[in-house]
Symmetry: C2
Subunit: 160 residues, 2 copies
DNA sequence: GCAGCATTACTCGGATATAATTTGTCCGAGTACGTCAGG
DNA sequence: CCTGACGTACTCGGACAAATTATATCCGAGTAATGCTGC
């Protein structure tokens, strides 16, 4: 899985507690990752409609478009890694000297079915958790101080 | 996901009905895929202990090491694609200017937990299906003729 | 006719190139604020 | 003092390279059957 998924999820959690729009460069510095590359993933989030990019002199940056409990982890994963399933059936059964005739292939082959079911289970598991729950987990594990520290750093005038 | 997974699964299903050891080249021709590359994946299956490679003049080839209902789809997937989870936590929370102190990171972060749970669900779904069940599905969908045709072709003396 | 042996043809196994995807970077387009001139 | 336009500094967005991984391939090591020879 793309490493950008992890970055994007952390960014979404941070945006949960950000009172202002946060520029991509600020998010990158906060997480100590490549600024330019993170921007790419944030663009993907924007295309998916999860975040909104505000442009302009001093108030620009990214903001969540909806409440954090309306954004599931699956939304972020699919925005970054795409919605295509990991397994794609090549229809091997229709190839080779003993190929199954196409008229007998009305249903996907058993292997594809199993893979599809597993993929559905995976997605369901990710869909069951929201960004808001992730944020709640952080405060539960590390206390409220974690987020106040991040908020304070985010609202710092510039690098100091 | 690696495309070799699909090949390996089909090969395992075929080996279910093969009365003799089947060489890699024969399996490759049957599925119309690269012979050399399929050999690599069969080696991975052999390393995982799912199949046994018999060497020798005319009786060489691959055989399942155990009954097909003792081999799960997950076994094959893990043999080919590895057992590592798709998501690996980079411990982003411990990086950057507002990094979480290491002593507070006794548990994996919430994101990693969610990803791990999803991975577990995915694996459980794949573990629930055996190769024998896949083979049964083929006979149910395409009739017993499908496997008899394959068996007949497999036992053909050579290419003709 | 039978046993032993060298041959042979076939198999797997790992080391080796190539293509695709992921990762990383750069510069141009666009907008809101702050400033300044004019009324 | 208020209004309008302008300039500037900051933002995002997509086009452009490098590294890693997946894909594909080749040739050498090893084994069981086969055919032959000698008894």
């Amino acid at each position: 899985m793309s490493e950008g998924v992890e970055w994007a999820l952390h960014c979404c959690v941070v945006l949960t507690v950000a009172p202002q729009p946060v520029p991509a460069a600020r998010l990158a510095e906060l997480h100590d990752v490549s600024s330019s590359y993170l921007a790419k993933h944030l663009q993907q989030l924007a295309r998916a409609g999860l975040v909104k990019a505000l442009q302009g002199g001093h108030a620009g940056g990214y903001v969540l478009t909806r409440s954090a409990d309306e954004i599931t982890v699956l939304d972020v994963v699919e925005a970054v890694d795409g919605t295509r399933a990991a397994f794609v059936c090549t229809e091997i059964r229709q190839r080779g000297p003993v190929a199954t005739p196409p008229e007998a292939c009305t249903r996907p082959c058993g292997i594809a079915q199993v893979m599809f079911a597993a993929d559905q289970a995976w997605r369901a598991s990710l869909r069951a958790v929201t960004i808001a729950e992730l944020a709640r987990g952080v405060t539960k594990d590390n206390g409220p101080a974690a987020f106040t520290g991040i908020t304070r750093w985010l609202t710092k005038p510039s690098e100091g």
